[in-house]
């Protein structure tokens, strides 16, 4: 039994960290705004996983981490919606959703 | 006696400047000029009155007065109080400043044609900044006034001089760079003395008490920071580059103020801070100062000899005579010290005279190239005689104000107790070499412009651009120079001769302060 040891806290933390890094890398790499927004969701939810993991392992009596991750999801979706909104109005001007084209203001 | 108060002396030019700028002052050129000239003369008389009732306390400060706003001192929490005080040293420079500002305003009658509404207030603001520097008794008040003169000077150089040159910006950057390092030194000094003595004060007098407690290398660090800041202002060689350009690209009254008074701020700062606050460090840095002074002297002289632009010659003349000041200060003896201060005063007068000459010549011939000038003596003989007196003063001929300074510095150099006598003697020889070179280039300047038969393209009238851009021709009287220029030149010539013949009149004023500062040195 002890061969397969139990899932400790740091398993979840490492997993959340991996997703966080992949999400950030995605933001930098993606060329389409939607994929970019999706990656934004990834990094925010990775933080959510982190909170939930800490709540269930450390702060068991009042589980405030769960509430925190609930709020994270809500605000993540709010920003997703705002992102899509801006995407629509930008699409009207630029006729494309390519991030590379959003460089009118530079220097 | 009680009507003599320093804040009135300092802030009256500022108030008058704001008055001229304010909308309900009539915006015509002659009224502004007359009003500011009258004020400048009044201010000069007022500053000389300070001379009469001057009774220095045991620390040499008199007329002390603290400015409080609704009886709360300026920055109580930081221990900084807006106290003004005047001792022998600052009294001399205050009178010199108001004298030169008066002359500048009189001289700018014929030299300034545009934007009077902004020009005279800026000069008055500059004057109040300079007076503030000389009368500030608080370290950070000194710094505040030191910075205050930056912007007026920037506009004075760039707006009325030749417009597109980067000299004004170079001036601002050099001075600001120097003052930043000075601020660093002051802050470190201020807080370290706080951490040692527990009382948070920025008063020069009390700071000088608590000096001897620091570690030596720490004092040396503060000393060098402060010296760096003043080195930029009193141009010591590596940082002097801004002087030539700023002088060339600024109009005559502005360059008179710059050479006459602004360079003295550096010297005054070195005396007040480097010597006043750090006597021991100063005594082991003294040889360095002497060497710097001599380098300054010779470098300035060598450059002046080969210059083709006459204003540059005068600029490098200022550089080399400031070198003599440094040598005087470095010599640690009372004679050297008083010689240095006397040199600053006499250089103020002589440099303004020379610049006035150059300005008059430029106004008539529209060129500063020494090769294109000549034969002006036939056209303006009076200007030649006054110019002769000023040039002889510049060379350092006795009975003119240049000689006592040089002589005192040389004797002071020997009397200083820096051990290798041979080092002192060769320094004296080099200083004296500088004096000979000065004879060389000053006479070259005088001869190339006034003597000689070739009459440069002198015109009896000169074309100037006035307020709204159209050219007006100004016809000069038969004797070649206008009345205001004669007044300025003769006043300067009289002052040069007066101080040459009676040097004691100046020496007595700062006698007390130099004794105090020097027995700090001995202790």
């Amino acid at each position: 039994m002890s061969v397969v040891f139990n899932i400790g806290l740091y398993h979840y933390l490492i997993l959340a960290l991996v997703i966080f890094c992949i999400g950030l890398w995605g933001i930098v790499v993606c060329k389409n705004i939607i994929k970019l927004l999706v990656c934004a969701e990834f990094i925010l939810n990775a933080a959510g996983i982190n909170f939930v993991a800490f709540a269930s392992y450390v702060d068991v009596e009042n589980l405030s981490g769960l509430v925190f991750s609930l709020f994270i999801t809500i605000f993540a979706i709010a920003e997703l919606v705002l992102g899509v909104l801006l995407l629509i109005s930008i699409y009207k001007y630029k006729r494309s959703a390519d991030v590379e084209k959003l460089t009118d203001m530079k220097g | 006696m009680n009507f003599l108060s320093i804040p009135v002396l300092i802030f009256s030019p500022l108030i008058v400047a704001l008055l001229i700028l304010s909308p309900f002052f009539p915006n015509n050129e002659i009224k502004i000029r007359r009003f500011s000239k009258a004020f400048a003369i009044l201010h000069f008389i007022y500053s000389t009155l300070f001379l009469l009732f001057f009774n220095p306390t045991n620390f040499g400060w008199s007329y002390q007065k603290e400015l409080t706003f609704f009886n709360v001192s300026w920055l109580k929490t930081l221990g900084i109080t807006a106290t003004f005080g005047m001792d022998g040293l600052s009294l001399v420079f205050v009178i010199l400043t108001s004298f030169l500002v008066m002359l500048a305003i009189i001289a700018s009658k014929s030299m300034i044609r545009t934007k009077h509404r902004i020009y005279y207030p800026l000069i008055l603001i500059l004057q109040s900044a300079l007076l503030g520097v000389f009368c500030a008794k608080d370290v950070f008040l000194f710094f505040l006034f030191w910075e205050l003169e930056l912007i007026p000077m920037y506009f004075l150089i760039s707006q009325w001089g030749d417009r597109d040159s980067s000299a004004a910006m170079k001036y601002v950057v050099y001075t600001f760079f120097g003052s930043m390092l000075m601020l660093l030194g002051m802050l470190v000094l201020y807080f370290y003395s706080f951490s040692i003595s527990g009382v948070l004060t920025a008063d020069i007098e009390s700071l000088s008490m608590s000096e001897n407690v620091f570690a030596m290398w720490f004092q040396a660090f503060i000393f060098l920071c402060l010296l760096f800041g003043f080195a930029v202002k009193l141009p010591i060689v590596p940082f002097h580059n801004w002087l030539a350009e700023a002088q060339v690209s600024s109009v005559t009254p502005v360059s008179i103020l710059m050479a006459g008074v602004l360079l003295k701020m550096g010297g005054y700062g070195i005396i007040r801070f480097n010597i006043g606050l750090f006597p021991e460090v100063f005594s082991n840095f003294a040889p360095l100062l002497i060497i710097l002074g001599v380098v300054n002297l010779l470098y300035g002289a060598c450059l002046a000899i080969v210059q083709t632009d006459i204003k540059k010659i005068v600029a490098y003349f200022s550089l080399s005579s400031m070198g003599l000041v440094l040598v005087g200060l470095g010599s640690l003896s009372e004679a050297g010290f008083e010689g240095a201060v006397f040199q600053m005063v006499s250089h103020g007068l002589i440099a303004s005279g020379l610049l006035m000459l150059v300005g008059i010549i430029y106004l008539r011939t529209k060129t500063r190239e020494i090769s294109a000038l000549g034969g002006l003596s036939q056209v303006m003989p009076i200007c030649m005689y006054l110019g002769l007196i000023i040039c002889l003063g510049a060379i350092g001929v006795p009975l003119f104000s240049g000689f006592p300074a040089g002589f005192m510095v040389l004797v002071g150099l020997l009397l200083s107790d820096i051990e290798p006598q041979a080092f002192l003697v060769c320094m004296i020889v080099l200083c004296v070499l500088g004096a000979v070179l000065s004879a060389g280039y000053i006479l070259r300047l005088f001869h190339k412009t006034f003597f000689g038969s070739v009459l440069s393209q002198f015109r009896a009238d000169t074309v100037q651009i006035d307020e709204d851009g159209n050219e007006i021709t100004v016809v000069y009287p038969k004797r070649g120079i206008t009345k205001s220029e004669i007044v300025v030149l003769s006043l300067l010539a009289f002052a040069i001769i007066f101080f040459g013949v009676f040097p004691n009149s100046v020496l007595d004023i700062f006698e007390v302060t130099s004794d105090i500062i020097l027995d700090f040195m001995k202790v």
Partner: protein, 177 residues
């Protein structure tokens, strides 16, 4: 029982990592959205494993609806836009990858060797998640007592979002640029 959890954990971890890479690297936006959908399901599973059943439910419901909305409103019009697979090999990609690697290594190192983890290991030695009663009750209690203000703020934000959506959409009609 514990072994089952570890197996489940590793499966879900694999799903999460694969789907996130898939979402990033997919050529067509639709496929990346589908990967995202699967990814959110995985997160729901993780929450379930961590005994946060309520969160898992909220998570799955909210994101499925959000992504479907996204699918229909935004994705279809952008279908025709083709992107070259790798685009220009911008240096940005590698620099960001390197810096993220550094962040990952430092934080992982901090987590693994940190004092905190040792304690938890000891604590959670044979410690299995207490299958306490469902967490909904505690979340509800926390929401209404401790974090009521935040709860109000969320309401506010949602309100403002709807207003702005209305306003920005309204822009389309009387368009005077």
């Amino acid at each position: 029982m514990a072994a089952l959890e570890t197996i489940f954990f590793y499966i879900l971890a694999a799903v999460l990592i694969v789907c996130s890479f898939g979402a990033i690297l997919a050529r067509r936006v639709i496929s990346s959205l589908i990967f995202a959908l699967v990814w959110f399901l995985g997160v729901g599973g993780i929450y379930f494993l961590l005994n946060a059943t309520f969160n898992a439910a909220i998570q799955v419901l909210a994101y499925v609806s959000a992504l479907l909305m996204l699918l229909f409103v935004a994705v279809i019009p952008f279908e025709k836009e083709k992107y070259s697979f790798w685009g220009i090999l911008k240096p940005r990609i590698y620099i960001s990858a390197l810096s993220l690697l550094i962040i990952f290594v430092t934080l992982a190192w901090a987590i693994v060797d940190d004092y905190l983890v040792h304690i938890l290991d000891i604590m959670s030695g044979g410690f299995t998640l207490s299958r306490s009663l469902s967490t909904v009750y505690t979340i509800g209690e926390r929401l209404l007592t401790d974090y009521s203000v935040a709860f109000e703020l969320v309401a506010f934000v949602m309100f403002i979002l709807t207003v702005s959506i209305g306003m920005i959409c309204v822009i389309k009609q009387n368009e005077e640029v």
